[in-house]
């Protein structure tokens, strides 16, 4: 077997495992969200199917697949079918550059716990993250429904507005690590002996908040403002095509948590991780679970922002603060250290 074949097989196995983990993660995120929100509201949540309702996601999945798939008469057929695919693909591939454990040397072979260690990993995250906007705008436009159109426009404006501060708050860790490779960023946090969230607290908070806005999560879940827009850009979708928008949102929650963990919370770092690298997966997952819980917690606690407040927060607060944060970091790095 030549080298290229080995690389392809290796990547295919890792990508398949990643897709499986993400899909399972999606299924159980919906369950966890309902359980946690139920707990916050002093209810029980799903508890009928399987012990503690643990089989609920499977039942939901089967139900979604067996539902009637409808397409409105005026819809643009190609775009209507393409939109959920364009939304889901970036969600599934974005985790490919995030390392979940350090390299593990077994009998002279190096096992890398990352699908592809790109030297421009941060750029990849930004680029793939923005592709999802096309899915939103196409879904809104292709449905030929007024609710979808308005929801699509609103979320597109929201996502591109917050993209600026989101991108800028990735620059802080890059400046500190002097690399765009996510593995190097984790190594830099190891070398400094401190997570970047403590060196860059403003960047960390901005990154998390604008990440929520990028995800269209509460309190920025404007496109899904049920009381005004029914379901926003996926009003006309049914069956598993609706499920795919849902899937993209939850998988992107996992991906954004992974990004926050890698850039600001030390990635897979933890005690004894260099002695036994697979332990890194546990630390990484624990940090991601904590962030996911925080996202659900925020949804259960905070009311939704009004649209004008949302836009002015993005343009008048998040953008200038992110810019100042980057420049201040650079000045400190050049003149003080």
């Amino acid at each position: 077997m030549n080298e290229v074949t080995v690389i392809i097989i290796d990547a295919a196995i890792k990508a398949a495992v990643m897709a499986l983990v993400l899909l399972t993660g999606f299924a159980y995120m919906t369950y966890a969200e309902r359980k946690v929100i139920a707990g916050i509201q002093v209810r029980r949540g799903p508890n009928r199917i399987g012990p503690l309702g643990l089989l609920q996601p499977a039942a939901d999945g089967v139900k979604l697949f067996l539902k009637e798939d409808m397409m409105p008469t005026g819809a643009d057929k190609l775009m209507f079918n393409l939109a959920p695919i364009i939304t889901s693909i970036p969600a599934l591939v974005i985790m490919a550059v995030i390392p979940v454990a350090p390299d593990w040397i077994v009998n002279g072979y190096t096992v890398r716990f990352v699908v592809a260690d790109l030297n421009v990993g941060v750029l990849y995250l930004l680029a793939i993250g923005s592709i999802a906007v096309y899915g939103i705008v196409l879904a809104g436009w292709a449905s030929d429904s007024k609710y979808s159109m308005m929801g699509g426009l609103r979320s597109t404006a929201q996502v591109i507005s917050y993209e600026l501060a989101f991108g800028l708050s990735m620059v802080g860790p890059m400046l500190l690590a002097q690399s765009m490779s996510l593995r190097d960023i984790v190594h830099a946090q190891e070398a400094r002996g401190i997570w970047f969230m403590f060196l860059q607290p403003i960047g960390f908070l901005l990154f998390f908040i604008t990440g929520l806005a990028e995800l269209n999560r509460a309190p920025f879940d404007m496109p899904e403002a049920e009381q005004e827009l029914t379901a926003g850009y996926f009003t006309e979708y049914s069956s598993m095509r609706f499920g795919m928008f849902f899937m993209a949102e939850y998988i992107k929650m996992i991906a954004v948590s992974g990004m926050v963990v890698t850039l600001y919370m030390g990635g897979y770092l933890g005690p004894f991780v260099n002695q036994f690298p697979p332990l890194g997966i546990a630390y990484f997952s624990a940090k991601v679970f904590f962030l996911l819980f925080t996202m659900i917690w925020i949804r259960g606690t905070l009311p939704r922002l009004r649209y004008d407040q949302l836009m002015s927060f993005g343009w008048k607060f998040a953008l200038p603060v992110a810019m100042l944060n980057v420049l201040a970091t650079a000045i400190v790095l050049v003149y003080v250290m």
Partner: protein, 127 residues
């Protein structure tokens, strides 16, 4: 770019994309074929809370959305400039670092002038 970087770094990305695309295409195909098909004209009307829709949905769009899009392009270019600058800043000696920092400050100040203008003209207010 050398072939080695292409194969070790970008080939796995391509493989991941292919697997993700196949998975998504399969889901769309399955959801289109597994469910029943009992369509009626009423069912296929765009949803408008029970009213019969008047006119199509692709009508004029408020100009604010275009404004946001144009502003996004302007400021996103700035973000893109920040990324390579952040990597190169500290790797070429102190005098280069001070020079690069001054350059970036001048660039940002130029943009901030435009930003203040846009803010004062009320382009960032949403009514």
């Amino acid at each position: 770019m050398s072939t080695e970087i292409l194969t070790t770094q970008y080939l796995p990305i391509a493989v991941t994309f292919i697997i993700a695309t196949a998975l998504c295409a399969f889901i769309v195909w399955a959801s289109g074929n597994l469910g029943p098909k009992r369509n009626t004209d009423k069912k296929l009307m765009p949803y408008e809370s029970g009213m019969t829709p008047i006119g199509g949905a692709n009508r004029r769009i408020p100009v604010r959305y275009y404004l946001i899009a144009v502003l996004f392009i302007l400021f996103d270019i700035e973000v893109i400039f920040f990324l390579p600058w952040a990597i190169a800043l500290l790797q070429n000696g102190t005098s280069f670092a001070q020079f690069a920092l001054a350059e970036m400050l001048i660039f940002t100040i130029t943009l901030v002038v435009g930003y203040i203008y846009v803010w004062k003209r009320g382009a960032l207010n949403w009514e």
